[in-house]
Every structure is written in C-alpha cells, then in structure tokens.
C-alpha cells in the first residue's frame, strides 16, 4: 500500500501545494491573464487620492500613450505581457517577415538549449505553443479576438511563458560572462543558481536581467516605461523614465536593431502592464 501516514499537526506538502493552487485560482477569478484595452484615464483614476508624483507622471504619460491593458499579477506578468504585446503588434502590422525572422531566432534558441544539455522533449511542447501563434500570424488564421482568447487560455499562456523562461535562462547561461556581474551584484547567486531559482520556475518575477536576455534571445526591442515615485531633479519637470532594451546592443556580432519598440510595457514596482501609444 502506498498511503501517506498521518503527520498530526503539520500540513503535508501536497496540502500546502493544494492551498497554494487554491489561492492562485481565487486570484484568477479577479483578473484574467490579459485584460481588455482601457483608456489611460483608468490609470489616473487609480491614483486619484494618491501620490502627487504619480499623478503628475500619469499626466505626462498621457502625452505619448493613450491606452493600457492590464495583466494578472502572478509573477509571470512580464512574460504574458510580452507574449500578447508582441503578437498583437505583429498581427496589426501584418508583419510576416518579422514572424519569419523571430522563428529563426526561436530555432537558434532551441539549438542553444540543446547545446546546454537540455533534452528536446522537456521544452518542445512549449516551443510549439509559441510557434503555433507565429504560424497563425503568417497564414492569417490568427485573428485579434483569437489572440486575446489564446492569451487568456491557461494552458496556452502558461506554455508560452514557460518557453520564454527556457530561452531566457538559456540566453543567460550561454552568455554567463556577460550576465554574471549583474546577477552576482544584485542577488548574490551564481548564474546557474539564479537561472534555477529565479528564471525557470513559474511565478518568479522578472527584472532587468530577464528582460535583457529575452530581448536578445528573440531580437525584439522592448521599451519599459517606469511609473514610480522617483522625483528626478525635484523640480517641476517631472519626466517619466523609460528604458529601451535593444537586442544585440550587448552582443557584438549581432547588428544593432534600431527601430520602433514593438513591445511597450508599463512598469510599476513589482508589475508590468501593456502600454499603447496614441
């Protein structure tokens, strides 16, 4: 018989995990992975009685950006926001050449993962969930509504997030010398430990290192706009800071892409949402 003996007062691991999943499911009911497009004024409404610096910055934000789309705060928001924003942009611009280009990048990522010793079966299904979307863009079978539906589907969205986590980790380990100082400096972990504990597991939040690695791995320019309470020079000229993650900037052999960012995300401490230019 293979039964779990009673432990008395201490909850068993499976009970702890079950509770963990129940909490997650509860969160899921409040907010889907990817929300509907909302006018930027809904962001202003959030801070109506809040921090003056935030209010000013949102006003400033309104000069360039007109709308946002919220994402669920489950630690995977950067990857889910990236997935949706990138594919939506691809659909709207009907950029089949870009879809083809990113597929080549995916192939290179796959090779890197194999070179790093991963068995193909551990990631091939996740890879396919992403390339399925790209195929849909190329052959015209993916509509905007279908993309929203796919991005809200747990199995598709989780799968694509997992693929991004694999290639982010792969990129970091492939260029360990480059990433090491940032990782050791901020986390005190080795590159391997960092990838194992902070990149590969679902629900681990993303920071500069993850974004740089994903941008480089896929060759996609990502702009992060920062909404925080930093006050710049303290004067009246409050600027909203942003940072462009330019693929290839840190890799010499690749040409530097200088184009409009296809993915623009709004960062508030601990969370990423999608931003739309006016």
């Amino acid at each position: 018989m293979d039964t779990m003996p009673d432990l008395g007062d201490r909850p068993r691991d499976d009970e702890i995990m079950a509770q963990h999943y129940a909490i997650r499911a509860e969160e899921a009911e409040k907010m889907s992975f990817i929300g509907d497009k909302e006018p930027l004024s809904s962001l202003a409404a959030e801070y109506e009685s809040g921090n003056a610096i935030f209010k000013k910055k949102i006003e400033k934000l309104g000069e360039t950006y007109g709308a946002l789309r919220r994402t669920r705060g489950d630690g995977n928001c950067f990857f889910r926001a990236f997935m949706f924003s990138y594919l939506e942009n691809l659909l709207e611009t009907r950029n089949e050449a870009e879809a083809g280009r990113v597929k080549d990048s995916v192939d290179k990522c796959k090779q890197s993962l194999l070179d790093l010793g991963h068995s193909e079966f551990t990631f091939e299904d996740f890879l396919a969930s992403f390339t399925d979307q790209l195929d849909g863009v190329q052959d015209g079978s993916l509509s905007a509504d279908q993309l929203v539906e796919n991005s809200r589907d747990q199995s598709i969205s989780d799968s694509v997030v997992m693929f991004f986590r694999f290639i982010t980790s792969g990129e970091i380990r492939k260029r360990a010398d480059f990433f090491e100082p940032f990782i050791v400096g901020t986390s005190g972990l080795s590159v391997q430990q960092f990838c194992r504990s902070s990149v590969e597991p679902m629900g681990e939040e993303s920071d500069h290192v993850h974004i740089t690695a994903l941008s480089d791995a896929l060759g996609v320019l990502i702009r992060i706009v920062y909404l925080d309470s930093s006050n710049g020079d303290g004067g009246n000229n409050l600027d909203v800071n942003f940072h462009d993650f330019i693929p290839g900037q840190c890799v010499q052999e690749q040409p530097i892409l200088k184009s409009k960012p296809s993915v623009v995300l709004l960062y508030r401490p601990g969370h990423y949402d999608i931003l739309y230019e006016k």
Binding site: D13, D14, M17, S119, F121, T122, F123, S155, P201
Partner: protein, 157 residues
C-alpha cells in the same frame, strides 16, 4: 493530455538510457503512467553507501508545470527527509520546480541531496541537530545504521 504525452516521452528516454545511469532505476507502473517507482543507489563516501533506496513518485495531472510528489519509501536518516513519512525537503520539488527537470534528473538531485545534507532546513530535526552541533560522527553512525537496517537488501539473510 499534455502530462501523459510528456510522461510517455520520459518513459522512452528512460528505456533508452537505462544503461547510462546505473545509480538510478526508474520504473513506471504498468497500469498507470502517473505512478512511478525509483531505486537509487546511496552515493559513495556517504553513510548511505551500499544502500538501495526506494522512492515513490506520484505525478499530478498538471505535470510538468507542477512538480511530481516524491518521497522515500525506504527508511532513511537524513536531515531533509521526514523520518516517518519519507517526505523530502528539496527546493526543486516545491517552489523552484521547473519543467526543465525530469523524473530522471529529480532522482539525480535527490542523490545529490544525500551527499550534501542541508541541516539548516531540516525535516528530521534530530538529524539536523546532530549536524548543526558538529556531531558528524553521530550523524554518520545513525545514518549508516539505518542504511544497514533498511536499505541493504541482503544483510539480514
């Protein structure tokens, strides 16, 4: 179902690599691909040397997005294994799980844990306390005794 397909791939991989890693024997339940048994060899230069330890592996339907449940069936005296239930305290079986791991590499990680006990996160406090108080000899002799009693198959015959 994604988990079934994935487990089937792991099954094929295990068959192919059977001879590659003689320290791990992974067997899938004939009637249920979600239930596995592993026999792992206690690593050399540890008190678990010469022992063969049985693990029971229950794979949830959401696998590989969530970790398998693995526990020791064979009694083992180790700070990160619950003495009564065989439950294992290992990050990759909980928060640090990722689908990059396989049943095979999980077994390898458990063997590594046998070589490198983490007394600061004990599930077996008596064992953890021995190590934390620096009584390595006491730990080794207890662990060796239980290895002989429970994990060395022919010693009693």
């Amino acid at each position: 179902m994604a988990s079934r397909a994935r487990l089937f791939k792991e099954y094929k991989e295990v068959q192919r690599e059977k001879t590659a890693d003689s320290d791990i024997q992974l067997i899938c339940d004939e009637n249920n691909i979600y239930r596995w048994t592993a026999h792992i060899k206690g690593p050399a230069d540890t008190p678990y040397q010469e022992g063969v330890f049985q693990l029971s592996i229950n794979v949830p339907e959401q696998y590989p997005l969530v970790p398998p449940q693995v526990r020791f069936v064979t009694k083992i005296f180790h700070p990160n294994v619950h003495f009564k239930t065989g439950e294992i305290c290992l990050d990759i079986l909980k928060t640090a799980w990722s689908p990059a791991w396989t049943l095979q590499s999980v077994c390898r990680a458990i063997i590594a844990l046998m070589s490198h006990p983490e007394p600061d996160s004990p599930l077996n406090c008596d064992c953890g306390n021995l190590l934390r108080s620096g009584d390595h000899r006491g730990y080794r002799s207890m662990a060796r005794m239980y290895t002989r009693l429970a994990a060395v198959p022919n010693i009693l015959h």
